[in-house]
Symmetry: C2
Subunit: 522 residues, 2 copies
């Protein structure tokens, strides 16, 4: 299916959308929800899919999954599962019956409805880097994350039309007190961006506060809030085969209030999962489905996506690697499994590189193209990730957005049109009549009519020849990215959340701070 | 189809092949002829393919192609084509009848038969950068190409198992006299590498000397030489719609002596071809098929591949761009057309970047993945290209080989195996029985048995965490690449062409130099 680009362009005309020509800092593509029109790359045969499914079911039936959450255990008992201590064994019929209740696509609507996103239905959407403990910039080097850096990365997230959602805190604002950090962080995210937000499942207070703040920002009552997803949470399992208490608790709270959850096992093959990819994917599927089955039992039809984070370790050092051939194939295989279960699929942009250099970009290009190839709907960490997720980098975010924009352009249907205008036989004949020395296409009407929009226009790539590039200062890409960061921060415009809602959020934060925020001793 | 990796590994045991553990300078994958097992990405419907074919045929029938070659014009007249001056109009029936004579795959066998390559039959093979006039290294900056640089790039071409063939001179040895340059250059290529060589179609002397030297290096008589391809030539058309004299002359000489030709129109959309991709691809197909039809008329069944070099220009400056979304789609569309005509397909690794930095690698990753997606058989300029082909860079070659190796690994069938061992349910159950604090897969037999070969091992990527990377000198990728270049040049080993053949080549070169080489005034 091909998206109506005109329609998405019109949608982008809301109060906060950035249109070409008045974007902050750079000329960029308009906001849109791109569809992935490529047939996915499918390394597994139908039988291979069935075999991985069978292995996942055997894990669920014979080995079981630990749920360190008493409420979940009680629910599983009620559902008729075999519960041995904290170990839950699930029959495949129950799992498949529950998973079948989950929608194959759903929307998440933030306070600015123009920024509504659709997970599934052939879309591929990109989020900023999430949850990095550290920050690296060319000027500042590597430091633990700070509130100021957090706010700058939110500004970039907002400024780039190709970033569709916040994927958690782009960097941990470690200088904010842990008990109240989530209040300040979400206040910033809701006032400095108008894109979908994520709240962490790290204790009841944090996730409930998150939902309450999203509700206030959108000016909704509880019924309207619960009527559809307005935010989401993402959890990782504790591989192998374990779900921890706060993650399950947070997801249960979300689905009960109508909000979306993404379950993303983090199965590093050879470390927390089998060294063989099919095994790592099977384990990931088992871990993911066990949680989704629970959430569907509690809230049938609730919005759940299946995540994948299957990569490999460097067998020499045990260090995780990303954007590798194994990562690409695991992602493609996971995409096949998600389609088999009829669930929206989450994957990631990622790399192991420590600085925004050549390696960072070949690894990230591999990861992002594997997201495309796998039919991934929701690309976490799409922009700004370094060092296996331990570093958020503004320069890397700018580079990644250049690549993401190219993926958006790649999916524009006019590129592959074969209508008469596109075939251009008349243009070829017209140029052929020109004197031999002038036989080029620059000047003819067919070219001039399409001059402005024919090709992707980069904001960061330098396409000058060497001599002009050298005259311009011979600036390498990472340094150009650094300058672009400055320009975009300078030009940042807040999305304009209505003043009464800002005040409602301020009041909420003040009250919850007075109450002590969230306990920090769990 | 899945390649028998064992078989190719055994083949690599020849006198000059580099096996894991005794490779010069780095640990690398063994020589192999990888097969592309992915279903191609096909942006065109069947009707879209038919429409581009129809446009190409209209160009050939109604507009025609200029052949600035009297012999070609005479041949076309004889074949019944409409020849008006230097303009040839070709009926689609004739073109399709001729193209159908071309094989869908063929082999090229260099003097070391262990380095035989297969063009087509599902293979994807990679060549070094070709024909760059300039050289850039981190130490030496940008300079016109020299003989010393040429020889160093040959050493790297030989040393990397993932480079399957020489794609012309990696850099122009501009300090050698043009009349005799081809003699020295081919002598070096044939003695310093044992991989398939290319000779330029730049006048009868150069191409005939090239064939004679390949024959001498392989120790063949003329009959044996002509019995199958032992080398190839690649030509570009002079777009729009023109074939120049020396290119057609060289190809005619090649096919008459049983050697392979690759016809690669260089159709920059918006400059030398329509601004719309379907039009640029149609023109490219028309230019390519017109030449291939001629070669099949002269030598039915001769080895011909269809090349694509359709990219776009920066409409602001007219500068060519590579590795763009438009480039990727055009390559995929061209792959569909090549399959429609049953011809092996050539594409390229390419970028517009001027230095081996982040942009260079996202553009090159885009280009190389589009070669994979398009079912390309023969990737020219796979390693070492910068500045739209105006620069050859040893550091870039090393980086590209890291990425190419990952593509080779990506196609190894064990990655996507779903046999019982790969599903690893028993391994999951085994780890589950370990004490909670030891529940990981590092130590179990399933992991240990696969420890050595489970994952791709990089030679250039740094997967250390930031702190260890920093302790190791905080070396960015381009600087690590520079050190790798030094290490590989140091460890280079000549492939050991037999002394009598070296002497035969020396005698040939001496005689042809005494005769004056090739005229340089055309």
């Amino acid at each position: 299916m091909v998206e109506d680009v005109t329609k998405t362009r019109r949608r982008a005309g809301g109060r906060s959308a950035n249109r070409r020509g008045r974007s902050p800092g750079i000329e960029q593509l308009p906001w849109r929800l791109p569809k992935n029109t490529d047939r996915p790359t499918e390394p597994l045969t139908e039988e291979g899919v069935a075999r991985i499914h069978g292995a996942a079911m055997r894990i669920l039936e014979e080995v079981g999954i630990e749920f360190l959450n008493e409420e979940a255990l009680e629910l599983f008992r009620k559902a008729g599962a075999t519960v041995e201590g904290e170990r839950v064994k699930l029959g495949r019929d129950f799992v498949m019956e529950m998973v079948a209740k989950a929608p194959s696509s759903f929307t998440i609507t933030p306070w600015n409805a123009d920024r509504e996103i659709i997970l599934g239905d052939g879309h591929i959407l990109f989020g900023a880097v999430g949850s990095a403990p550290n920050h690296l910039s060319l000027k500042g080097g590597k430091t633990p994350g700070s509130h100021a850096q957090y706010r700058d990365l939110l500004k970039l997230t907002q400024a780039f039309n190709c970033i569709h959602f916040n994927a958690g805190y782009p960097v941990e604002p470690a200088d904010l007190h842990p008990s109240t950090r989530h209040l300040d962080a979400l206040f910033d995210m809701l006032t400095m961006t108008d894109k979908v937000v994520h709240a962490y499942s790290l204790g009841p207070e944090r996730i409930e506060d998150g939902m309450d703040m999203v509700k206030l920002a959108a000016g909704l009552d509880e019924d309207a809030f619960q009527s559809q997803p307005h935010m989401f949470t993402n959890i990782n399992s504790t591989s192998p085969l374990k779900h921890d208490w706060p993650m399950i608790d947070g997801c249960l709270r979300c689905v009960r209030r109508g909000q979306a959850v993404v379950v993303t096992p983090f199965t590093l093959a050879g470390a927390m999962a089998p060294v063989t990819l099919a095994g790592a994917v099977a384990q990931s599927v088992a871990e993911g489905l066990s949680a989704i089955a629970l959430f569907q039992y509690v809230a049938p039809g609730s919005a759940c996506a299946l995540g994948t984070f299957t990569s490999n370790v460097d067998m020499a050092t045990g260090a995780p690697a990303f954007g590798t051939p194994e990562y690409m194939r695991a992602t493609q295989m996971s995409g096949q499994m998600a389609r088999f279960y009829g669930l929206p699929m989450r994957a990631s942009g990622s790399c192991a590189a420590n600085v925004p250099d050549a390696q960072a970009m070949w690894e990230t290009a591999n990861a992002l193209w594997s997201a495309v190839q796998s039919g991934t709907n929701f690309v976490y960490h799409g922009a700004g990730w370094l060092e296996g997720g331990l570093i958020a980098s503004p320069e890397k975010m700018v580079m990644d957005c250049e690549l993401i924009q190219q993926i958006l352009r790649y999916f524009e249907p006019d590129l592959v049109s074969t209508d008469e205008d596109a075939l251009a036989v008349d243009a070829v004949a017209e140029v052929d009549l020109l004197p031999a020395s002038e036989r080029h296409f620059f000047g003819i009407g067919h070219t001039q009519d399409r001059y402005e929009s024919a090709f992707y226009r980069p904001f960061l790539s330098n396409w000058q020849n060497y001599e002009n590039w050298h005259l311009g200062g011979a600036v390498w890409t990472h340094d150009r990215a650094s300058a672009t960061v400055d320009r975009m921060l300078e030009a940042y415009e807040p999305p304009g959340l209505a003043q009464d809602r800002v005040e409602a959020l301020e009041d909420f934060v003040a009250r919850r701070k007075a109450e002590g925020g969230a306990p920090t001793d769990f």
